[in-house]
């Protein structure tokens, strides 16, 4: 392994007539080359500095993949590498049939919720260096049908979201197209966390109740209902309608406050608290009739 740094006098004579910036760059480039050489030497050893991945594979129509299995990939370790980076590397260099959803790479599109080392996380938001165990075990989200490899069927999740009428529906809106509805900063703050949901499905997948009761609305849908129920711009009439959906048999009362949804939410939404708050509202709503 060579860590030789360039001879100083040589560098100076070579870089005569260069600007200070060019000089600095040259020194750095040389240092970088030396570093890269050293790294290349290391990589050629049998172990190398690679991250081992164990990735779930399944394809309903390819004979050798019809029986689910795990494939192992070793990808070069980079500082700051995420699980998504590692998967993309494995796909682009080793097996282009490796299939997973991803798009924004910055935890806002919600495409790449995966089951990583036994918990629900976004691949793009999970740094390899923060994981305790290697090989990194990557599986599709539990409690959902697998379409192929790491891709699950999200239909049920979307259906539950739609059940709560996930749209703003005030009793009336201002007639003037330039007149805004007022909302206090406090009320906006109250609903703020609930508006951050990216529909990734991590919470639903982590929930024991949802796993056993297909009709349970689930944390994401209840949170969506909360987002509108708590928004002061929506009127009382709609609030009552929302409460009916929230408080029905497969609504908030199914939650057993295990906090698994809250623990896995990549946007830190206090889902369980929101569900509890709605339970209290449901009780209050019931008392109104007495």
């Amino acid at each position: 392994m060579s860590t030789q740094t360039p001879d100083e006098s040589e560098t100076e004579s070579e870089s005569e007539g260069f600007s200070p910036g060019e000089k600095r760059r040259q020194v750095r480039d040389e240092a970088r080359e030396a570093r890269e050489e050293a790294e290349a030497a290391e990589e050629s050893t049998p172990e190398g500095d690679t991250v081992p991945l164990k990735v779930f594979r399944y394809d309903p129509e390819i004979p050798e993949k019809q029986e689910p299995r795990f494939d192992e990939f070793r990808v070069p370790r980079e500082p700051g590498m995420t699980v998504l980076d590692a998967l993309m590397y494995a796909r682009d260099h080793f097996d282009s049939s490796l299939t997973f959803r991803h798009s924004c790479r910055q935890a806002v599109c919600g495409s790449d919720a995966l089951f990583i080392n036994g918990s629900q996380r976004l691949g793009c938001q999970t740094q390899i260096q923060d994981l305790d165990n290697e090989p990194v075990r990557i599986e599709p989200l539990p409690h959902q049908d697998v379409v192929k490899d790491l891709v699950v069927d999200m239909e049920h999740f979307y259906e539950q979201m739609e059940t709560v009428e996930p749209y703003f529906d005030p009793d009336e809106t201002p007639e003037d197209e330039l007149e805004e509805q007022f909302q206090t900063p406090e009320n906006r703050e109250h609903v703020k966390m609930s508006t951050r949901c990216i529909w990734c499905g991590a919470c639903m997948s982590s929930c024991n109740i949802a796993a056993g009761d297909n009709k349970y609305l689930g944390p994401a849908a209840i949170n969506k209902a909360y987002r509108f129920y708590m928004d002061e711009r929506e009127g009382e009439q709609k609030q009552e309608e929302r409460m009916e959906v929230i408080a029905e048999n497969h609504g908030v009362w199914r939650c057993q406050t295990q906090f698994s949804c809250t623990n896995v939410c990549p946007k830190d939404i206090p889902l369980t608290e929101h569900i509890q708050e709605l339970k209290r509202e449901a009780v209050k709503d019931n008392l109104k009739f007495w």
Partner: protein
């Protein structure tokens, strides 16, 4: 075959808004999108929506800022339409429940942004795009609009008259990612392309992996000219390792940029002695790279953006999302340390040539949002002007396609009397390899064919193409072709551009095109075959990269985001014109159309653009 009045391709901000407008105007609308709508990249927009809502502000001032920011390459009717419609369209979002940040009196908050003469950027934290996207998708759900999600549109079905302006569009063909079936979608009244950005043409970009410019490439091959493709915005504050965007909101709130000598570079070196960090994006991006090139960068790569002095309370209130991004993607705590930033590809000012109603020169084919070029942004887009473009021109395209009368457009489309032919000194043959012999074409049938058979013919072509890609064995992998293009684009067609480098890029693109002739898909499954999707996308990347580089080589001046080493001046006598590239059945052709600077009641006189 599916049949609807209007097909919207893409379900980000522009597509959703177009679908809502068309539905409101009484049309039967369906959206066809390769991602589920909430996965669209509009969700990553952070900063805000420019709208002249308050006393002391006016649409006229907003239009002036926009045309100046565009370095006088925006068409005045486009910029004025944007600024006139934005206030009501922004409040429309509020009426749909969008959770805007609020002032103490309960009104929506606005903040300063680069290049604006009034703090008119309306925002929802540093996650405005996320809220805009979700709010509009909620309204689509409310209206029961049909959404075919995870369907990749492979092409538009267009007739093949010699003159593109005589062609008509009757639908699209799409590949069902889940099952592998290709199906036809007949559109009785129009197809609206809203496929967003093309950032994947470059390798350091804030754009999503899905932003491969599919709609732009489809329209191009069908005969619609590409306009001002060389104008690419490089955002000055992206995280070095991933390209993740750090909102201009940080500078809007008072964040400062400094170099490795600890100097506040924007002021110290005279890049923008008045506006400093809040100068226009192109100005700040060049300043940062100049600092790095002159040896005053960190690790020879980036500069620092510091917001610590704003205090935890203000940061948590207005920029909390930035803390998460810096932590998750760069491992930096923005409350304790400055954040490393460098310029990254962010936005395409150019795109599919349309007028202010979203119409292309092909009858029944519309485009809106980032994929389109009206042109509002000209040589450089102002921060906070992309989101209003989505809602204003998405709405207008939706209304017009559904038959609403929006008046006579002031902007013309297609090669016309005011156009002039251009010439390009290209070192290599351009376009489709072998096109001279085969005359490959976006069109599929003669003009008098009935609409359904136009779609049928396209369907046959696309089915055959999918079969061919799946059946070819041991060919070239798309990832190799794609990364070759991305690398040469980032190397040669970046912030600083030189003639030799641009020619190198054209050579590299040619080589990549030839490699692509032998491309194959190794995954043979029909189920969720992303290998196949990425292979089809790569074709789109190739066509766009080439048209973009052609424009960059042709435009021998320095205007807005387009900087040329050999041409260090804006040349208004010669270059107050849009660069147009037509596919011309596989042999790309360059031409020009004059910019329109005559507004409703005044003419925008080009001035020196200083900040």
């Amino acid at each position: 075959m599916h049949e609807h009045d209007i097909i919207v391709v893409g379900a980000g901000g522009a597509g959703l808004r177009a679908a809502i407008a068309a539905h409101e105007a009484g049309a039967d609308v369906a959206m066809v999108t390769k991602l589920h709508p909430v996965r669209s990249h509009t969700g990553a927009a952070e900063g805000g929506i420019n709208a002249a809502l308050r006393e002391g502000d006016s649409w006229e001032d907003h239009a002036y800022d926009t045309v100046k920011g565009a370095d006088y390459l925006a068409d005045a009717p486009a910029a004025e339409t944007l600024c006139q419609d934005s206030p009501a369209d922004t409040i429309q979002l509020e009426h749909w429940g969008m959770p805007f940040s609020r002032d103490d009196d309960g009104r929506v908050s606005q903040r300063p942004f680069g290049g604006l003469s009034f703090p008119r950027t309306t925002y929802a934290g540093a996650e405005t795009g996320h809220h805009l996207l979700h709010t509009m998708y909620e309204q689509v759900v409310k209206r029961g609009i049909t959404v075919h999600d995870e369907w990749h549109v492979t092409d538009v079905a267009v007739t093949d008259e010699d003159d593109p302006s005589e062609r008509s569009c009757h639908g699209v063909t799409a590949y069902d990612i889940r099952t592998g079936e290709v199906e036809g979608f007949l559109a009785n009244d129009g197809v609206i392309l809203a496929t967003g950005g093309m950032g994947q043409v470059f390798d350091h970009t804030t754009n999503a992996v899905a932003n491969t410019g599919d709609g732009v490439a489809m329209a191009y091959r069908a005969g619609v000219p590409m306009e001002d493709m060389e104008f690419i915005q490089f955002h000055p504050t992206t995280l070095p390792s991933t390209g993740v965007l750090i909102s201009e909101g940080v500078r809007g709130e008072g964040g400062i940029l400094y170099n490795s000598d600890g100097e506040r570079l924007m002021f110290e070196y005279g890049y923008a002695t008045n506006d400093g960090e809040l100068a226009s994006r192109d100005v700040v991006a060049r300043a940062e790279l100049t600092e790095v090139n002159e040896g005053r960068g960190f690790e020879d790569e980036y500069v620092m953006l510091d917001m610590r002095h704003l205090g935890e309370e203000r940061i948590m209130d207005r920029l909390e999302n930035i803390l998460h991004l810096a932590e998750d993607f760069e491992g930096v705590d923005g409350l304790e340390e400055p954040m490393p930033v460098k310029p990254g590809q962010h936005y395409a000012m150019g795109g599919i040539e349309v007028n202010e109603h979203g119409e292309t020169c092909i009858d029944g084919l519309y485009a809106a949002g980032e994929c389109a070029c009206v042109s509002v942004h000209g040589g450089n887009r102002l921060g906070g002007n992309a989101l209003p473009e989505l809602i204003v021109f998405g709405k207008r395209a939706g209304y017009h396609a559904a038959g609403r009368d929006l008046g006579e457009p002031k902007i013309k489309t297609g090669y016309g009397e005011d156009s002039e032919p251009g010439e390009l000194d290209s070192p290599v043959e351009l376009g489709e390899p072998g096109s001279a012999e085969t005359a490959a074409d976006g069109g599929t049938s003669t003009g008098d064919a009935d609409p359904e058979s136009v779609v049928e013919r396209e369907l046959e072509t696309q089915r055959a193409r999918v079969e061919e890609l799946l059946e070819t064995e041991d060919g070239v992998n798309h990832a190799e072709v794609r990364s070759a293009v991305q690398e040469t684009m980032t190397e040669n067609v970046n912030v600083f551009r030189e003639e030799d480098g641009l020619k190198d890029a054209l050579r590299d693109i040619r080589t990549a095109r030839e490699r692509y002739q032998d491309v194959s898909v190794s995954d043979t499954s029909r189920t969720y075959n992303t290998d196949l999707i990425h292979t089809m996308e790569t074709r789109n990347i190739l066509d766009i990269a080439e048209a973009l580089t052609m424009g960059a080589l042709a435009r021998e001046e320095f205007r807005g985001a387009h900087w040329r080493a050999e041409h260090q001046e804006r040349k208004d006598d010669e270059w107050l014109k849009h660069t147009m590239v037509s596919w011309n059945d596989g042999s790309p052709e360059l031409w020009y159309r004059p910019v329109i600077l005559e507004g409703e009641s005044k003419t925008y006189e080009p001035k020196v653009r200083s900040y």
